[in-house]
Symmetry: C2
Subunit: 328 residues, 2 copies
């Protein structure tokens, strides 16, 4: 198996990305192709001890910033690590997947343009494995398609259904549609139409899910548009951070409370691990004809290693073939 | 001042509502008109000690459930506590405001139909005072208008601007538009059009706010559509609950951690108070020609008392006249 890794993507690239790759080589039976500015990749690797025959380097001189527009990235930076990496995946059977912690818009656009869509799917969608009180839920879309049609949400649901079964090992997943009320008559015309489409085409559709149900973990897959999904994950992330800051600030005011926090530390770190994005490591970009994994911009080495593990699991389960077979 | 209170609205009505009213009479110089099934109100009041001349009762026999549709509530239950209460506010100058913890959709519909809109405003919007790391932010709309036009968001922004200055005492409020990216080119066509409208019409518009900025408290007013705003508040509420459950569950596993939690207790309860919806008590329904406050369905006596306090503050600051003067 050969996985292409964008060495230049993310806030801590290339250092943490390459660290993550080297750690993955120790744990998994995989070859990793690092794409990016060759001199910088070689400089980072020179400090590392790793099996030389299981790392390849492909030079890509252009750099895409986190705030560059997707369209401009695609047109003016044809030799970015993202575009070069995705073209490699497209052009050679040798490669199995592409992972990037870089500019999400650029990854989505380059994947759509170079890999094209899966038969029967019109738009890509990003799925994310969210930790919940029970176990986890697969939330899709968290930002690829911010202005979808109802049928795009149906495609997301069909893909989520396959992903949950084949990759997350959930038999007969419960699928919910994120809405502002539980009844099918709730929400905008768009939501009502989507609900109808789901009812007609999705045997395991379990109805609308309200936002306050998400973290209870009653649904295996939760379907929404990319705008709302993106708001959901960003609000969740920032609220947990704000709660953490607030707890620290309050606890520092009282010495006894500081002892309390110290005594709770192991259990709190267990929760942090449970809620940590880096534990799953990546969010699959579904709908394009190739296996693409998007990692968080803040990814550290551990997140990258875990994204590689999740990607290996996807490759082993032939997720692309399964999607083609089931969704079409 | 005479405030009409829906005695039948909310999960804990009428008991907690009437308790809250009696507590408010002790603290504030106000008369409260309780609307609902008279026999039930009198039964609850018979156990209470309160100034008889400062409580009025108006009978309203119909009952609206939390899941009844707004349209049916309005057409078939003309004598619900919500419809009767709002008509009272409309028809007599004696009354200053209406508060309900009942069915939000029914309150919005009845307010729109009976009170009509303010000149220059086309749709109502619900604002909510959110606690943040700094102090608070006023998020609007959290659920009245789930399918707005860009101009409706501009009206919300203009009203939020007045509310923040006159009721929340913020001079020159920073106003942000909730979006999935900071740049003005981000988001759907709807978002871009709204951004343009804000830039042209709102001198203190500070640009797009991403969802992960909300709880940092850098913006005084955050404007969004009712669908997204509703998702934001529900996800926030449930995530805090989930985090709380998870902490309890983890802490119970380790005796030392239980001691830790005990030692932290006072500071954690301080945070809980900071983040507690019941501290502010109510969310103003802005845009209708009358002062309407919506309380959380789970409101207890304290939340109702605080909603009454916030409403008194709105009445004292002539918020309706100010809105008419500034927004028109």
């Amino acid at each position: 198996m050969n996985i292409i890794l964008d060495a230049m993507g993310g806030d801590h690239a290339p250092y943490e990305i390459i660290q993550g790759a080297v750690q993955a080589l120790e744990e998994f039976d995989v070859t990793i192709t690092l794409v990016g500015i060759e001199s910088r990749i070689r400089a980072e690797l020179s400090h590392q001890d790793y099996p030389k025959d299981r790392i390849e380097i492909v030079h890509a001189p252009d750099i895409i910033g986190m705030h560059d527009s997707a369209v401009i990235s695609l047109r003016k930076k044809k030799n970015s690590s993202i575009s070069v990496g995705i073209r490699l995946l497209k052009e050679s059977e040798k490669y199995d997947a592409f992972i990037s912690a870089g500019n999400t818009g650029a990854v989505v656009s380059a994947s759509t343009v170079y890999l094209r869509m899966l038969p029967g799917v019109e738009r890509p969608a990003i799925g994310l494995v969210l930790p919940t009180l029970k176990k986890f839920s697969f939330l899709i879309d968290v930002g690829a398609n911010i202005d979808p049609k109802p049928k795009h949400l149906l495609h997301s649901a069909l893909m989520a259904n396959v992903y949950a079964q084949k990759v997350l090992n959930i038999t007969n997943p419960r699928i919910g549609l994120l809405n502002i009320g539980a009844e099918e008559t709730k929400g905008s015309d768009f939501m009502k139409e989507t609900h109808k489409l789901f009812s007609e085409n999705l045997p395991n559709f379990s109805g609308n899910v309200e936002a306050n149900e998400i973290y209870k973990g009653e649904y295996d897959c939760i379907i929404t548009d990319g705008y709302t999904g993106n708001i959901v994950i960003k609000i969740s992330e920032s609220l947990m951070e704000a709660a953490g800051s607030l707890i620290k600030r309050e606890v520092r005011k009282v010495p006894l409370a500081m002892w309390g926090a110290f005594l709770m530390k192991t259990r709190l770190s267990h929760i942090k691990k449970h809620a940590d994005y880096s534990e799953y490591g990546g969010a699959p970009l579904l709908g394009v004809n190739g296996l693409v994994m998007i990692s968080h911009g803040r990814s550290n080495a551990k997140a990258i290693k875990n994204a590689i593990r999740a990607t290996i699991h996807e490759v082993e389960n032939n997720i692309i073939s399964e999607l083609i077979r089931e969704v079409n």
